[in-house]
C-alpha cells in the first residue's frame, strides 16, 4: 500500500478545506512547508487529555474520535481540525483524539499557532466561523 501523495496533490487536497479556502496557490504551498505532515496508525492516540504541549492538527485524510473521560464527544474527518482550544487558552488538552483509521494530518506546533493566525487572518476568520458553528451546535444539544 503506497499512501504517499506528492506536493501538488497535497496542495489540491487542502485547497478544498474550509479553513484554507481563501488562500492563493503560493500561500497554500507555503502552508505545506509551514506545517509538518504526519501519519497516525489506526488506534493511535494523537492528543492526550490532560497533557500539555500538544499541537494544532488539520486532517488531510482519515478519521478520528474525540473522547473525554471515556465518553465519545465527536467524530472528525477530512478537512476538520483539532487541538486549537488548548493552545488558544493555554490549558492541557481537554480531550483525547484517537485515530479510528490511518490518518494523515498537517501539524503546527502549539507555540507557532498565534503567529501563524496573525499572519493568515483569513484562516483565523475561518477558524472563528468553525468555532462559532461548534458553539451553536453545542448550545442546541445542550452539551
Amino acid at each position: 500500500m503506497r499512501v504517499m501523495i506528492d506536493r501538488d496533490e497535497l496542495i489540491d487536497a487542502i485547497s478544498g478545506f474550509g479553513l484554507f479556502s481563501d488562500l492563493s496557490a503560493p500561500q497554500l504551498e507555503a502552508i505545506i512547508h509551514i506545517f509538518d505532515e504526519r501519519m497516525f496508525a489506526e488506534g493511535e492516540t494523537i492528543v492526550h487529555q490532560g497533557l500539555s504541549g500538544s499541537g494544532f492538527f488539520v486532517i488531510v485524510d482519515g478519521e478520528a474520535r474525540v473522547e473525554a473521560d471515556g465518553r465519545e464527544l465527536a467524530r472528525l474527518q477530512r478537512g476538520d481540525f483539532f487541538g486549537e482550544v488548548a493552545i488558544l487558552i493555554g490549558v492541557p488538552a481537554i480531550a483525547d483524539v484517537i485515530a479510528t483509521r490511518q490518518m494523515r494530518c498537517l501539524v503546527l506546533p502549539g507555540p507557532q499557532l498565534e503567529s501563524f493566525l496573525i499572519s493568515h487572518p483569513k484562516v483565523m476568520y475561518r477558524m472563528l466561523q468553525a468555532q462559532t458553528r461548534r458553539l451553536r451546535a453545542a448550545n442546541r444539544t445542550g452539551t
Binding site: 492563493s24 503560493p26 501519519m39 492516540t45 497533557l51 500539555s52 504541549g53 506546533p109
Partner: protein, 510 residues
Amino acid sequence: MTESTRPFPPGSYPVVVIGSGPGGIQVSYALRRNGIEHAVISEDPSPGGMFRRWPHFQRLLSWTKPHAPEPVGSRAYERYDWNSLLADEPQARALQPGLMDGTSYFPSRPEMEQNLGLFAERAGIAIRYGCRWTATRRIDDAEGGGFVVETTDGEYRAPVLVVAVGVAEPYSPPGIGMELTHHYAEVRPAESYAGHRVLMLGKQNSGFELANGLLPWACSIALVSPSPAKFSVQTNSLAGVRARYVQPYEDFVLGGGVAVLNAALDRIERTEGGDGSLTVHLRRTDNGNELAIEVDDVISATGFVSPLLDLPDIGCSISGRSRLPVISSWWESTTLPGVFFAGTIGQAAKGLVKHGVPANSGAVHGARYNSQVLARYMAETRFGKSMERPSVALADIVGVIASELADAPELWHQRAYLARVFTVDPSSGLVDDGVQPLTHFLDDGGPNAVGVTLEADGTGAIFPVLYTRIAGDIRERAMVAHPLLRYDGPDARGEILAIVREAIPDVPAD
C-alpha cells in the same frame, strides 16, 4: 578480504540488518548485547554511511566536547558527546573526543568517519560490505512468514528486517526547469562558484550550509522557499537552521548581497540571450508578487529521502517530504509488521513533539538510544527473551530518579520521547522497567507506575516531567526548572518524593 572470509554469506538468519552507517552499526551492537543473532549487509565498501561523503563542507553539526563536566567514557559524559556510538566495553566507549584535533568542537567529517570505523573495529561489528540490497519479497508460510532480501551477492531470508539505510537519497521536487538545477549532493568544489550568482532552493540546514560555504566565493546568493526560515536559536530546539549556519542570514539583514526570500518556484528557464545563465521565476508567498532572478547556478537544497527501495510496493506505508515509513513507537512498520527501522529513519516515530520540540532521532545522539531500546524490545517480543527488571527498594526510588535526572543521557537527548519507567509489579514490588518510548508508557496501561523524562517547552527551559500512572490514569507532573539544570538537590528530591507518592504512597521520606 577474500570471498571466503567475508561475513554473512547469503542464507537464512534470525534478523537481517541493512546499512553500515551509525544506525546499522549501533543496532548491530545492541542486538548482539541482547543475544540476537543477525547478519549485517551494506552496499558501501566501509563503515560510515552518509558520513563517508557529507556534510559537503566537511564539518558536522553535532558537537563532541573533549573537556566536559563529566569524565570522558562515563555514562553521564554521553550528554556532552553527540557523536560516539554506545558500548559497554571501555575500549569502544567515547571514541570521538580522542580523534579530534582541537580546532572545533564539531568534529570534521573525516574524524566522524574514523570514529565510526574505529567503533566497528573495537566493538567487533561484522558487516558484509559491497553487498547491495536490490529487492524485497514477503514470505507467507506456516512458520510465521518473513522476508527475502535480494542482493547483489544472493538471497537472504529472515523473519525480521532492520532497515538502517539513513535519509540520504537526494530529493528534488518536480517542477518546470528543475532539470537545470543541481542537487546539494552534486555541488562542485566551492572555488568553482567564484564570482557566480547562486540561487538556493531550500532554507533548511543544507541550504544555509551551502550558502555559508559559498560566502567567500559566490558574488550573490539567494535562498528561496515558500515559508520563512526558522532558526534553532529562535525555536530553542534542533528544529530550524543551526546557529553555525546563520551567517548568510546576517549578511542578508545587513544588505551584504545575500537575499532570503519567501517565494514558491514557478519555473526555471535558460535566459534568452544569456551566456548560459538561468532565469528563475518566483511567486512570493508574502505578498503574491512575481519575481524573476537571473543567476548562474541553481542548487536544489530540497532535502533527502529514505532509500526504501521496493518496501512501499510490498506494503510499507510511507509519508511526508522525506518519504519516511509510517512506524510505531517501537520503530516497526505499522503496515508491514516485521520490518523495523534504526538510525535516522527512526525519526519517523515522532512521539509527542511537545511544545513543537522534536526528539533527536534524526541525529546520532538520539538514534543511538533508540537502537538500544529497539533491540531490547525485539529480544522480548520476537525472540522470547526475558529481560532483567531490577527491583528498586521503596527507600531508594527518590535517589534513583534524582540520579537518572542528573546523569541519564537517554533522557537528556531524547526529551519527552524516551522515559525510564518504574512499575509497581503486583508480584515483585517496585521494579525498574528500563527505558521505553514515552508514548508506549502513556498508551499501554498497566499497574501503577512512574515514567521519568526531561522536557523542553520552547522557552529555553529544560525540566523533568514525571508521568504517574494511577489506576490506569495518566497524570503529567512537571518539576520546577532549575537555572543550572540540577535536578538531584534537596528541592528537586522533595518534588520527586511528592510526585512519586501519588502513584506509590508507601515510599518513605527521603
